[in-house]
Amino acid sequence: MTMEQEISLGSEPHAMFVSYNAFDLILGELVPQMQEVSQSVYGHTNPARIEQLGWRVGLAIVERFGSTKGDTLEIMKFICKDVWLVLFRKQIDNLKTNHRGVYVLTDTQFRLFQRMSRPTPSETIAMATPYLEFPAGIIRGILEALGVKASVKAETPGFPTVVFHITTMH
């Protein structure tokens, strides 16, 4: 049985559906809201809080939709295909691994960037960073829920590409 069959994201016969647009509108507001809250509660923006929100969502996705174990590469493929497709309506474009615990995932059209106006190169990093924390947290949460401890670092080499560097720990 493949990972895709074991963890189904919404293909259950009795699943309820809502509009993806409603979901997209919520996704688009998560980061600005969390930043506003951090600012008012802690007096500064706090990217770790956004990462944590993503992590919660990642854990919840596995809790709700499946709890199987495959090898780490299978789990990465599941994230790249199923999870990304259902969350962001596209798959991760590229998955590389050194087969020694390091995985590099590249999304060349990251969805949460779509609503942002195209920043100048010097603004890019500062503006984009909080938006990267959310999916990085999701990946870390899913991996953790499936038994893989990992650190996930996200960066944007150029708008609207995002690269996730995942280092698994043994």
Binding site: F17, N21, E29, V37, S38
Partner: protein
């Protein structure tokens, strides 16, 4: 208004023009956000409610364009029409539920939406001592923001919620004034 019954309009839009996603995914994402807000505000639920309302307001401002484009709904002739459109087309098209519209005030300016099957509240259990938390308060903001974009200034608030052990989930919507045709100032 279109000549077709609104219920049929809503159903047709839902069937033919909407990209759909598993409701549980949306519910768990929203739930993660509410949980995090409760932590950040140290269970000050008034502030959580306020933040959810604000978030909804921002969404409402953006959502109306998509709503009008997909539904083809034109200007409503009365606030009663507006209420029916919100329920049968708006809620239907975004959340696939049709809240009951009822409890009209004598002056026709206040009504209630009863949401029997709240998709956001699936599998939700509120923490103890959270009587002040209106978990789905984002709806109030969405209504306020979307209606403001169509020149109606409203106040929307939760009256009761089955999550709080109440018999029904009820949002009261009150028309405050009809705005003049101008671009509303963005709220920050």
């Amino acid at each position: 208004m279109t000549s077709k019954p609104l219920k049929a309009v809503g159903e047709e839009v839902w069937k033919t023009k909407i990209d759909k996603v598993n409701a549980e995914l949306v519910a768990l994402t929203y739930g993660s956000l509410v949980a995090q807000l409760c932590r950040d505000f140290e269970n000050n639920y008034d502030r959580v409610n306020e933040q959810l309302d604000k978030m909804g307001y921002n969404i409402g401002l953006r959502l109306i364009e998509d709503f009008l484009a997909r539904s083809g709904i034109g200007r409503c002739s009365s606030f009663k029409d507006t209420a029916e459109v919100i329920s049968k087309v708006g809620f239907k098209m975004f959340l696939n539920v049709v809240p009951r519209v009822s409890n009209w005030s004598a002056d026709g300016k206040t009504f209630s939406l009863y949401i029997d099957d709240n998709p956001l509240a699936d599998f939700v259990e509120l923490p103890p001592q959270s009587e002040n938390l209106w978990y789905s308060n984002i709806y109030c903001g969405v209504l306020r923001g979307a209606l403001e974009m169509t020149q109606m200034q409203v106040h929307a608030e939760f009256v009761s919620d089955v999550l709080q052990g109440h018999a029904a989930t009820e949002i009261k919507v009150q028309l405050l004034q009809i705005l003049k045709d101008e671009i509303p100032a963005a709220e920050e």
